[in-house]
């Protein structure tokens, strides 16, 4: 493979992020810029996309345990008729927090973990476009998440937790009907996580559009990159809509506005429209990353390329587009009129087509493959199987008349858990097992992994399978209890038992993480090598764990699945033959001359400022003012941080890292007309970019 030779040019000249040591250590006012990559402080101030990805994953896992505990309380309360484990008030808080936590604080950040860790690697970049902004996204998300979760404890157990459901319909969310601070926590907390998602989506979109390595055209990008990119576009356009809705709600509650005040003539359906215009793309925001992960795992363990790559990409784009035209199917019974119902019913049905294409392509990838059922493969096939169930039940309530029977019953609860747990979460867990060795240099135990998969799968089906039946038998959602003579006792008990089986499965996963880590620590690091699974993407083309600088030199990509093609060739009989080992092809991370963006204090300070503003809005505007001061200070500190010397163009350590253009406008302005050579290559790339926009 001659390609390898060609790409290894003088390392120092191919740096994506140049920095001079003199700049990195330059004192700024009273502060010295943080340094070093060891110890806990280095995590607080890191701007490394991989560490940020890992922190996203860890935070999401913490919130997953919180949300899971809430789920168990729900199931305990409903296990028997007239349940009295938790009262109606607490129950409402618990199911609301369960939904909000799982959607906004678990699935989204878990996907963000993969996006942060893998997107730059998969497109062959050194880091994301704006590393400090990336760190800010994480801290801002964490601030919002902690603010939301703190509502459980502040002022008494679930006294001030949001209790209007994750959908939080007006006017029940108004002050007269929800006088506790709960809805304020909801509105403020989701605004903050929304800022995080929006900033992160801009950052990652720019990364994919702009930071691809040589030859990495759009149709050479892995499907995971594609799905994550589509997800970021959905976030980019959906977050502002919920922002508007949350602002209106906040104005109503804090400053007595009239947006949802029916007595003043407001129409509460406005909230529903705004919420679901956001909420339905949100569903695809949750599921598309998992689709991408599955599309990486199945080919690897089938020893085949993904079947119908272009159709997989196109169906993902189609889902992204169509996701904007179906929101009112959440409102078939709201009284939006028969014409609107008819239109949205039909549009919803056809969104099943691109989804079905994906399922069939995964099956076709497995067909005639050599399937190796490792833990990641089990999870991926689990997604194919379980998501299909969720998709099929989805079609049954795209049919509007039938939806009037099913909506707001446990049938819907079953449906979206098959989609979000059976689809998104299983996919993300598969991703953990798959990329764990890449991120940490050792594998999780396969035995424990398989066992925990089966326990989780069985528990999952016992929990949510019966809910289809309960829903069709007429059990409503969000009811804190039911009468004994309504006949719901049997399947509720089964579901509750199933939920504890899931909990065991999750505990086994955590034990696996603990035990595998211990084993690795005791034995000294067993080197899994760059490519433990014989995989296909560029992320496997560097050492495990990935060195801080990602790749030793810029990779030049010539086709889809570049890394695999560097390992394998075809002989005269069209048989696949190995031409190089992964170790020969991959970079070993030995290039220590790469300069990287320096760590920074400001992202976490800015996140802290936002947290203060958040609590301030809920409790005391003076606190908010203090937070605002901190926030503005952090922004200015941030802007002034890079060495601010216009004559030193090309020597700034983070010219790629500037949110609002205040910083160094990059070497584009350099005197020697640099950077512009790249634009000669732009036609093809931007032409393809059109398909994104």
């Amino acid at each position: 493979m001659t390609v390898t030779d060609r790409t290894i040019t003088a390392p120092e000249e191919t740096l994506a992020l140049p920095a001079g040591p003199a700049v990195a250590h330059r004192p700024l006012g009273v502060f010295t810029r943080p340094q070093g990559s060891e110890g806990w402080r280095s995590w607080l101030f890191t701007v490394d996309h991989k560490r940020i990805g890992i922190m996203y994953g860890a935070a999401a896992m913490f919130f997953f345990l919180v949300g899971g505990a809430e789920a168990l309380f729900i199931r305990l309360q409903l296990a028997t008729p007239n349940g009295s484990v938790i009262g109606a008030g607490t129950y409402n808080g618990v199911f609301t927090m369960h939904g909000v936590t799982m959607v906004f604080l678990v699935i989204m950040p878990m996907a963000a973990a993969f996006a942060n860790y893998l997107l730059p690697l998969q497109v062959g970049a050194r880091d994301v476009a704006f590393p400090r902004l990336n760190a800010f996204s994480f801290w801002c998300f964490l601030a919002g998440g902690l603010l939301l979760v703190s509502s459980i404890f502040i002022g008494g157990w679930f006294q001030n937790a949001p209790d209007g459901g994750w959908f939080n319909y007006a006017p029940n969310s108004g002050l007269p009907f929800s006088p506790s601070k709960g809805i304020d926590f909801y509105a403020v907390g989701l605004q903050i996580t929304g800022i995080a998602s929006l900033v992160s989506s801009i950052n990652l979109i720019v990364t994919v559009l702009n930071m691809r390595t040589k030859g990495m055209s759009f149709f050479r990008m892995p499907v995971l990159t594609w799905m994550l990119l589509i997800t970021q576009f959905l976030l980019l356009f959906a977050i502002p809509v919920i922002t508007v809705a949350l602002f209106l709600l906040m104005f109503d509650r804090l400053w007595d506005a009239n947006f949802f005040n029916v007595a003043a003539g407001a129409d509460p359906l406005l909230w529903q429209h705004l919420f679901w215009i956001f909420g339905h793309p949100e569903v695809y925001i949750l599921i598309l990353p998992a689709f991408g992960i599955v599309s990486e795992i199945i080919p690897t363990f089938s020893r085949k390329p993904l079947f119908g790559y272009h159709f997989m990409v196109a169906s993902g784009i189609a889902i992204g587009f169509m996701g904007w035209g179906v929101w009112a199917h959440h409102m078939f019974t709201s009284g939006i009129g028969p014409l609107a119902v008819a239109a949205f019913s039909v549009s919803t049905m056809f969104i099943a087509v691109p989804t079905g294409v994906k399922i069939l392509n995964w099956l076709a990838t497995m067909y005639r493959g050599r399937l190796r059922f490792t833990t990641p493969m089990l999870y991926a096939v689990g997604v194919v199987s379980m998501f299909t169930i969720g998709g099929l039940s989805g079609v049954t309530h795209a049919i509007a008349p039938s939806d009037t029977q099913q909506t707001d019953t446990y049938y819907i609860v079953a449906h979206f858990h098959y989609v979000i747990f059976g689809g998104a979460l299983l996919g993300l867990f598969g991703g953990f097992y798959f990329w764990w060795p890449k991120a940490f240099g050792y594998k999780l135990s396969e035995a424990w992994g398989k066992a925990s998969f089966w326990v989780m799968l069985v528990g999952f089906n016992f929990t949510f399978g019966p809910m289809h039946i309960l829903g069709l038998q007429g059990m409503s959602r969000r009811i804190s209890t039911y009468r004994a003579d309504e006949g719901f006792a049997l399947w509720n008990m089964v579901a509750t038992i199933g939920s504890f089986v899931i909990a065991v499965g999750v505990a086994m996963f955590l034990w696996n993480v603990y035990a595998s880590t211990r084993k690795w620590q005791r034995a000294g690091r067993p080197d899994v090598g760059p490519d433990p699974w014989d995989a296909r993407g560029l992320e496997w083309m560097t050492a495990s764990p990935v060195p801080e600088h990602n790749f030793d030199s810029e990779i030049e990509v010539e086709r889809l699945d570049e890394f695999w093609h560097r390992k394998y060739g075809v002989d005269e009989n069209h048989r696949v033959v190995k031409t190089a080992t992964a170790e020969e092809v991959a970079h070993d991370g030995s290039n220590t001359k790469v300069h990287l963006p320096s760590p920074s204090y400001w992202p976490i300070v800015l996140g802290g400022g936002i947290l203060l503003v958040g609590y301030g809005l809920i409790y005391n505007l003076w606190l908010a003012a203090a937070g605002l001061v901190l926030l503005v200070g952090a922004i200015y500190g941030w802007i002034l941080e890079p060495a601010d010397d216009p004559d030193a163009a090309g020597h700034h350590d983070d010219h790629h890292d500037d949110g609002d253009g205040h910083g160094d406008p990059s070497g584009n302005g350099g005197p020697d007309g640099n950077g512009e050579s790249a634009s000669a290559a732009a036609p093809a790339d931007t032409e393809e970019a059109a398909t994104v926009g």
């Binding site: 006088p179 079947f307 009811i479």
Partner: protein, 421 residues
């Protein structure tokens, strides 16, 4: 046995097992009588929905078995063994065998894009036909329109026998919607506070009650009977405790019931327990509960339990609110009209039976005469309602506690209520 045959046997036995389990589950689900089941409709609309969805359930079931079968078949057929740890000479695979490196097949892709599209297009035609038929709310052949009003956490029904919902209703009742069997009954669904959803699963799908809006809906029951329902839009603290019942009567029974409902209550005879109960009631309860002929609007003026003005949406809003008009004392302040309480089978948002073990054994019209009053729940409810059904701490919604009442007072109130038949 050839490998192919083995797979076939393995697969078919698996399918048989799965099919059997599915059949058993479906059997339990369909035959077991569930009062809220959507699977055994007994009304025209519910049946239309079932007729639309049942074939689709079958199609979905077929697709389900095909996909799951394909997953299992691929698994069985193409799995290979290999090193558990991946550190064998060939990594995870024991060999260097590679399957055909197929990248795709455009014709196949186009086929499995178009086939589901056609399938869904067919389904959507049937859907649209059913949708517009169900929405044809003028199908009702009765003049009568019932205004259904949801509030935290019970339902009020205002009967407009002439179908004119802009005038005062002829009579008002709560929680149990009584309709004549066999005919379409037009409903006009509204809300006084937050969004609720009216749903009698055996008769028809649900329709939201949205404050400030008025939604048309139709229900029909084939046969006389009692059909349970549950508010299905989350409506705050006691959402789970907001239930209702639709009672279908033969047309002649309905006429009888209707005439009775239109008679005002008469004052209990002097000196009886019921008279003492009325005393207590008029002081403690009448600020919210109306009893036609006995309470008056004056009882309710300025009562502490009335909602404060700034979110009082009871009155007519001139700029667009199409809510109910308070025209006379028929309509309660914030609580069910109790004029004919004893003719109902349930109370407190239909979470308690008013008569012990009555079930369907006693004809609806004879409940008041033949039923055994559920004194335990009724008395507990009167003295401390929030204990039985969580209500908001500020006392603005839900029935407030009356723990100050002595046992005698409560006995007397029950005696008074027992006269309301």
């Amino acid at each position: 046995m050839s490998r192919r045959l083995k797979v076939l046997v393995w697969l078919s036995s698996l399918l048989v097992i799965a099919g059997t389990i599915a059949l058993i589950v479906v059997g339990i689900v369909v035959t077991d009588d569930h009062p809220l089941s959507t699977l055994s409709p007994v009304g025209r609309q519910g049946r239309d929905i079932a007729r639309l969805i049942n074939p689709i359930f079958i199609v979905a079931g077929v697709v389900f078995f095909l996909v799951q079968g394909a997953v299992l078949a691929l698994w069985w057929r193409y799995r290979v063994g290999g090193s558990e740890t991946g550190d064998g000479e060939h990594g995870y695979y024991e060999d260097d065998e590679f399957p055909d490196q197929t990248h795709g097949n455009d014709r196949l892709e186009i086929a499995w894009t178009i086939v589901p599209t056609i399938l869904l297009a067919v389904i959507s035609v049937f859907t649209l036909v059913a949708l517009f038929a169900l929405d044809d709310v003028d199908a009702s052949d009765e003049d009568m329109v019932v205004t259904v009003i949801g509030q935290q956490w019970w339902w009020e029904y205002q009967y407009h026998l002439d179908g004119d919902t802009t005038t005062a209703p002829d009579f008002v009742t709560a929680n149990e919607l009584v309709i004549p069997a066999g005919v379409d009954v037009a409903l006009d669904i509204k809300s006084r506070d937050v969004i609720h959803s009216f749903w009698i699963p055996k008769l028809n799908g649900k329709r939201d009650a949205v404050p400030g809006r008025s939604h048309d809906w139709v229900i029909q029951a084939d046969n006389p009977g009692r059909y349970r329902g549950q508010c299905t839009e989350f409506c705050g603290l006691s959402h789970g405790y907001m239930k209702m019942v639709a009672v279908a009567l033969t047309p002649s029974e309905f006429a009888q019931w209707r005439d009775n409902q239109m008679t005002p209550a008469s004052a209990p005879a002097e000196g009886t327990a019921a008279a003492a109960g009325w005393e207590v009631f008029s002081q403690q309860c009448a600020s919210c509960h109306a009893v036609n002929g006995l309470t008056s609007a004056a009882n309710r003026g300025g009562a502490a339990e009335s909602p404060p003005d700034d979110w009082d949406i009871y009155g007519e809003f001139n700029g667009g609110y199409a809510g109910p008009v308070i025209t006379d004392e028929l309509i309660a302040g914030a609580a069910p009209n109790l004029t004919h309480l004893m003719t109902r089978g349930t109370f407190a948002g239909s979470i308690f039976d008013l008569y012990l073990g009555a079930g369907d054994h006693i004809p609806y019209l004879e409940l008041a005469n033949r039923g055994t009053l559920n004194r335990g729940d009724l008395e507990a409810w009167i003295s401390n309602a929030p204990e039985r059904k969580p209500a908001d701490a500020d006392g603005l919604r839900g029935m407030p506690a009356r723990t100050g009442l002595s046992p005698d007072d409560i006995d007397n109130v029950v005696a008074f209520l027992s006269t309301l038949d």
